[in-house]
Symmetry: C2
């Protein structure tokens, strides 16, 4: 079973205070980029892998999706997601993505925001998603960028003259990375960017888009702290079709 750090009291409390937790999609700076890769929601059957508080599930319904399945490993997040909607077209199901099963040809869109980097057996999950998509179905997801997850000791280095750099090592050494983010000992799976692409292609997907997200000028103007993210992208965003 995957680590369920989201039900750790310290992590859950910290996560619940993040802007993206309290204010939803609009508070996630990468959301406009992700949204631009999504198809029109009207009439779609959608599965959200790692749905958390359900912000995307509710948005998809507002946009006209006919059925939304939100999957998450965290009891606490699902409890809040359920409490936040009375919409009978949204189902929330607790599941470990390492062992998730989905019905065949039942979804038009599989979506995942910053969750797949927790999954150890990604080939298995991608095969599951592939068979669960209907003809022309799409997969759109974000993960922490491999440059971000690679380092054995992640964190900015500041030169004597103030230049910030991100010290990359171990990039080609795939596997778990233990970090202290909101709580101690959060385990993420580092894979190379090539691995994400190769796993998709081997599963049968056709790659349709790839983004290495960084903040726009407008975003930096309103949130100057985002400027550092231009030095190395924090998120990888991928779109593929069946």
């Amino acid at each position: 079973m995957s680590q369920n750090i989201y039900d750790d009291p310290v992590f859950f409390e910290g996560y619940g205070r993040l802007p993206r937790s309290t204010a939803g999609l609009a508070a996630a700076p990468e959301w406009p980029t992700l949204r631009a890769l999504l198809p029109q929601m009207r009439g779609l059957r959608i599965v959200d892998l790692g749905c958390g508080y359900g912000w995307f599930c509710r948005w998809a319904r507002e946009q006209g999706a006919v059925r939304v399945l939100g999957v998450d490993i965290s009891e606490k997040m699902l409890a809040r997601a359920r409490a936040d909607t009375a919409d009978l077209a949204i189902d929330y199901v607790r599941a470990d993505m390492e062992h998730l099963e989905l019905p065949v040809a039942s979804f038009d869109l599989a979506y995942s925001s910053l969750a797949l980097h927790y999954v150890e057996n990604l080939p298995r999950l991608l095969a599951t998603v592939y068979q669960a998509l209907a003809a022309n179905g799409q997969l759109v997801f974000s993960v922490e960028h491999p440059i971000f997850t690679a380092p054995s000791r992640p964190g900015w280095t500041v030169d004597a003259d103030g230049r910030k750099t991100w010290p990359v090592d171990s990039y080609l050494a795939e596997g778990p990375r233990r970090t202290n983010w909101l709580a101690e000992g959060v385990i993420k799976q580092h894979r190379t960017l090539a691995s994400y692409v190769k796993l998709l292609l081997r599963s049968g997907f056709v790659l349709s888009h790839l983004e290495e997200w960084g903040p726009s000028d407008d975003q930096i103007a309103t949130q100057p702290a985002l400027a550092d993210e231009r030095q190395r992208p924090p998120f990888l965003i991928v779109a593929a079709r069946r």
Copy 2:
């Protein structure tokens, strides 16, 4: 016109001493990976973009290619390439890849080794290559990896405890990078990995493979100095089909 650093006397002299110059393909540690992505050469019409001394052109003919066109901007390299073969099925042509023109539907394989990161107008070149490929034609190329080309001051940083890291900054700032490699003021074009992929997709290519090359265990055993390249990949290798 692109910078023609290969005809700079200091650069040419230094380049001519590199193992890959004196011993050819077998001395390039990424060659086995590139080769594995190539189709069977027998019967193919091939264009080599940045053919240099012509090692690949001669190898392709040995493997059964029926016609090989080698393109390079360097007079000196082409002179040696021409001197190294009497094969009438190999043509060497001097051209600047910024302005290259190729006949329509005339090649089965476009190949390029460590040359496209010198090209400023890559969208134009990819459009040229796309129309020059026959149905089911393939493009296979290597470039310096974006993690390698990104830094404003490239070079390893060594921690107090001996850990080597590659200090990434400016990753999302695409454009020229001036480095001192073999000669001073060598200009390469940094683009993100996502840009390489998006430019290919926008040109109509279907991505078929992506590799972030690092040395194998066997290669490190025989050439221990290669071990550092595991910390961050030096080369990006891409295969796409028309």
